[in-house]
Amino acid sequence: GGLDAALFAAWAEEIAAAVRADRDRLTALDSAIGDADHGANLDRGFTAVAEALAGGRPDTPGALLSLVGNTLIRKVGGASGPLYGMAFREAGKALGDAPAVSLADLDEALAAGLAGIRKLGSATEGDKTMVDALAPALRALTQAVQEGQDPAEAVGAAAEAALAGAQATIPMQARKGRASYLGPRSVGHEDPGAASTALIVRALHAAVSR
């Protein structure tokens, strides 16, 4: 396969830029059903990731994603820090030390990441969390891989599914995380973590389309 460390570094940088640009939107979403810090949290985390990468880029996709995950765990805090951190770490672990990986490898790695989130946060689809964006994104990606689509096409489909998944959290009542405290009042708002997941998958699309 042809996805190398440079591609994954580009992904991380795309995320950092996207989070910075959408920081206030994410915080506003978190204001409605949370504690108004999601944008600041991810901005702090991915700024640290970008700095770490500027200081020296790991050679392999696996090491790179592990670095992203560990940096998020060390810098973000909150619920999203450990969850995203664990996801990138597990994805990195799944990629092993290959210098470049295939789209199918990436699909498997992201599935390992999702499993990490699920294990740590024990959320299932419909709980109004980041899982509601990541799970459909992965289904779309897996299917596209099976259909033999090229990376840009396949990840594009995943990004669309993530966005749709995030939108679909609007009518849900939260059952996990801070928004669950609101009970029925959590209905009618997009989940901030699902929204940021959609950003993250869109950033991957941007990276593979470069």
Partner: protein, 330 residues
Amino acid sequence: MKKLINSADSVVTDALRGLAAAHPDLRVDVKNQFVARASGPRRGKVGLVSGGGSGHEPLHAGFVGYGMLDAACPGEIFTSPVPDQVIAASSAVDGGAGVLHVVKNYTGDVLNFGMAAELCADEGVEVATVVVDDDVAVRDSLYTAGRRGTGATVFVEKIAGAAAEAGAPLAEVRRVAEEVNSRSRSFGVALSACTTPAAGVPTFELGDDEVELGIGIHGEPGRTRSAMRGARELVRVAMDALHEDMPLDGDVLVMVNGMGGTPLIELYVAFAEVAAYLEEKGATLSRNLVGDYITSLDMQGFSVTACLLTPELTRLWDAPVQTPALRWGR
């Protein structure tokens, strides 16, 4: 939004510098972002470490000192600390008898402290954890992240701190902490939202004739929005919620806590109503705190926390404590 800060990004570290300047009894590690007793760990004493997002001052750093916490890990505003902070603090205060983590039940706190505890074990620091979940506004069910940890945290930190100071082993300190938590309930009411430095606008908008009932401590909206009422009625809503969940009886320790922007005179007005309520139920107002102990930045409102005391808990509550925000007996 106007805040007495230099910048939204530096508020936590700037405040830590202020804390260091104000309290020579504290060792403030700005780099690793934790606050510990300057005296260092005491050989054989269980260490008590707590932490959570900033914006709840004096919680937690204001409770570091003799008879209470050994260290506190302040995260960013309303954001749980990261595992590194907790690991650094736990290692710094371990006197060989292990460390108790006092964690408020929020997904972020539980996850970050949980990761830290695993890594502490790897480093040879024995860690036990008590998760505080006293907020009756949230039903503990499959469909929530469980009850939130709020005011009882102050009671747990004081009482478990006294047990640790007296030389109780880790399992015993944890037992006492869990007993305090299981005998405590809280309920909060907001008259206004708060504004985080990062967001710059209030977390929600409340009309002049509205209140939020069943709020947490992170500026989230509460369980329900309701019509504004007098202090007597608002206190009754809160006390009824506590009493329904845990009948108030016997000796009770009560805290009427301000959310950060509530004038003290109003907290005393509320406390008078709390005292009247307890009398009506035949419970004894045995010990109390009235003031700002666990806040939400500039939010106006209050919370009530009640703990059903036992003779042991009363004794531990009365034991000397010397911290920036709670002090008696020395």
